[in-house]
């Protein structure tokens, strides 16, 4: 069975400083990993996706994530936070054809707060 742990429910940073949102996963197979973002009163938007091509994945709006198999981690980073980054971020895993339920498995979400 697959699972996702987002280690922080809230992260607060100052505008212009780096962002780090932490995620650890558990999967029996070679997973696909995603980060989604949800801005207030909006739907879920895909930030980036890891399959198996490259361990460092670049996404939209300057975000990137690094897949580390040895640490079972997929942390999301951004060099410089912007006020518009304030939102809730979800780390997500899919086992694909590896078995288990067809749907995605979500972490509990991390609220990113940007201080002016």
């Amino acid at each position: 069975a697959q699972s996702v742990t987002q280690l922080d429910s809230h992260v607060s940073v100052s505008e212009g400083t780096p962002v780090l949102l932490r995620c650890n996963y558990s999967s029996s197979y070679s997973p696909s990993l995603f980060w989604y973002v949800q801005h207030p009163n909006k739907g879920l938007q895909l930030l980036l996706k890891y399959t198996s091509a490259a361990t460092l994945v670049k996404g939209i709006n300057g975000f990137e994530a690094e897949f580390k198999k040895s640490e079972t981690s997929f942390h999301l980073t951004k060099p410089s936070a912007h006020m518009s980054d304030a939102a809730e971020y979800f780390c997500v895993v899919s086992e694909g054809d590896g078995g288990g339920a067809d749907g995605l498995t979500f972490g509990k979400g991390t609220h990113l707060i940007i201080q002016p």
């Binding site: 696909s32 995603f34 989604y36 909006k42 739907g43 879920l44 938007q45 895909l46 996706k49 399959t51 979800f90 899919s94 086992e95 694909g96 054809d97 590896g98 339920a101 067809d102 749907g103 995605l104 498995t105 979500f106 972490g107 509990k108 979400g109």
Partner: protein
């Protein structure tokens, strides 16, 4: 390309009533998924359609929930009768391929059962 749409955006009903949620996937996406987020919890998978067939409904909480996808286009999720614990946000997602493919989400329907 139009995204996934959901209707209504909000629904407030009383316990024991029936509610039907609708999802229109991205055109050409055979795979359609329903998810739910109840207050304070993570987003949970409910079920997966491939065209009009239920591929996986392991996440459906009980038999008060009925999902359909007639003709393999839009889908409905009916809750009958609604209970207080059914309150939450119901998301729909679609993808062109199945397992591991990127799922595109709708804005969700916020259901409140009083």
């Amino acid at each position: 390309e139009a995204g996934v749409t959901q209707f209504p955006s909000h629904s407030v009903i009383e316990k024991g009533q029936t509610v039907t949620l609708r999802c229109d996937p991205i055109s050409g996406h055979d795979n359609l998924y329903w998810y739910r987020r109840v207050m304070g919890k993570e987003i949970k998978f409910l079920l997966h359609f491939v065209k009009e067939s239920k591929q996986d409904e392991s996440g459906m909480p009980n038999n008060r929930f009925l999902a359909e996808r007639t003709g393999g286009t839009y889908s409905t999720l009916k809750v009958q009768p609604a209970e207080l614990e059914d309150s939450g946000v119901y998301f729909c997602a679609s993808s062109r391929r199945g397992a591991g493919d990127t799922q595109y989400f709708g804005p969700g329907t916020r259901l409140t059962v009083l």
